[in-house]
Symmetry: C2
Subunit: 303 residues, 2 copies
């Protein structure tokens, strides 16, 4: 069994993008994706798909890209590597729902390869509810764990802890949401191992529309009012803070002349900031803040 080439992986990832977009359109029942094709001057390009003003999804994007060329100096310096060409392909998603009762979600799978043979996979999926509901967090982690366990029982605990570290809003001392999994620099030891990691990334990609479709169906009929909308806007403000201040991918993209509109498709349609906002004692908003913590064991959480 020989390993897939980088061009084959790009084509398979494009298929994942297609699958996700058509599933989301079905679940939303309203809007549809608009597509932007773009070229990268240094090599390669992408297919950015944006969803705005759907029934359930207010603003979001599902982006595919496959870029190549000389490895940016910043990567070479960081890794202590010699000059070399690189190839990178991936699918990246952020969705902001209309309803504050439906969580924000993010998913990313990516593959990186250099001419000198260095290669790795990275990715993850994490959930950011405006209101934390333990049953929803448990369901999400169960589904993610099931996918991880099909490949390696060590994946879930390791990548769950990694997500807790990665999706942390340090200056607020809170996690972005209820976490999920995050992994990076997974390199293959053999052709078989390579296929396994690739297949794991595809399984994460296919999990995405199933698990988010579940929340779209279940949570979008829930009632809410002005109070919940305002809380949603404040939480979206925190999402902006995480992405612009701490997210390594966003920072790297903006710093290396990436396609700004594709990188910042993760921004919410609207966000709000209030000085020293404190939720009322005993409120669902306070419950949420109190549970934005690392090391929450959502699988065995009981009220």
């Amino acid at each position: 069994m020989s390993r897939k080439s980088k061009e084959e992986i790009a084509i398979i990832y494009q298929g994942i993008q297609d699958h996700i977009c058509s599933e989301l359109e079905i679940h939303d029942g309203g809007g549809s994706f608009m597509e932007d094709l773009w070229d990268r001057p240094e090599g390669g390009g992408g297919r950015t798909r944006i969803f705005q003003n759907g029934n359930i999804i207010e603003k979001g994007g599902v982006a595919f890209s496959a870029v190549h060329g000389p490895t940016p100096e910043k990567i070479l310096a960081k890794l202590g590597l010699e000059k070399s060409d690189f190839f990178a392909t991936g699918v990246s998603i952020v969705l902001h729902p209309k309803s504050p009762m439906v969580p924000i979600i993010h998913m990313n799978i990516r593959y990186f390869e250099m001419d000198n043979g260095t290669h790795w996979f990275g990715g993850g999926i994490d959930l950011t509810p405006h209101y934390i509901v333990p049953e929803d967090a448990r369901y999400f982690h169960q589904e993610v764990k099931k996918v991880c366990d099909r490949f390696d029982p060590a994946y879930y605990p390791k990548f769950k802890a990694w997500a807790d570290e990665y999706f942390f809003v340090k200056h607020r001392n809170e996690t972005r949401g209820v976490g999920g999994i995050f992994y990076d620099r997974l390199s293959a030891q053999s052709d078989e191992h390579f296929e396994e990691i690739l297949n794991f990334s595809l399984a994460v990609g296919r999990l995405f529309p199933d698990v988010y479709g579940y929340f779209m169906e279940k949570n979008s009929p829930l009632p809410y009012g002005e109070k919940e909308k305002q809380w949603q806007n404040l939480r979206r403000g925190r999402y902006v803070e995480f992405n612009l201040v701490w997210d390594a991918g966003t920072k790297f993209g903006l710093d290396t002349n990436g396609r700004t509109e594709s990188i910042l498709m993760s921004m919410p349609p609207l966000a709000e900031w209030k000085y020293m906002h404190q939720p009322a004692p005993g409120s669902p908003e306070e419950f949420t803040l109190e549970h934005l913590k690392k090391d929450m064991d959502w699988l065995s959480y009981t009220l």
Copy 2:
């Protein structure tokens, strides 16, 4: 003539904060400042004053702080200095007006001193109109230049160019607004020079309520509608992007465990993001985007 001590400078800066707050309350005629006193565990503290829901100012802050203690490792490393204690005091302001016809403004004056004798002044003032009006930009730069020229004719051209570089949203290839002045690491060569730089910073501080009061009076009666409000929200989104991605002061504060709520008082009350937003050809919005450029000579700009 002996130079002022750091404690004296802190007291004078506090006076500048008082002056600015009372002037802004008079110009606004509506809201008033609420005050938060805070202590820094490692030494010192601050007096953050927040204005929310005034007649003209929707959200803003005028913050004073005077902090001291061991110099943060990050500063020592950056400057290649030995362990030492530091003292820093300053006044920092960002105001977001209700009306899109009134510009956003930022002003900062600060003094930094280390036990080993190293010291410097820094600061600046810059204007971010939602709609660029050349007459307003010219007026602003004229007033700023007048203050600079009272101290050193080299200040304005040097600090104006520095502001163009500093207040640049690299990933959007646009300046934050029409600029102003920015200066940093101004160290005194003599006691006389020290007083001169200190007085320059005080003059910048006193200029602030005069020049912003002018825009509050002149521009807040101008009519506007939904279209202008939405454009304001998009421009506020760009303000967020600059502050969270590029502003050195914000990044440093968030990275070194500064007081988050005081640092992020610069965030707008509301901000909006749209994918690939393009203003209509010939519109005032397009005019604005086309003039968010470095090296604009607003003093001699003619339509």
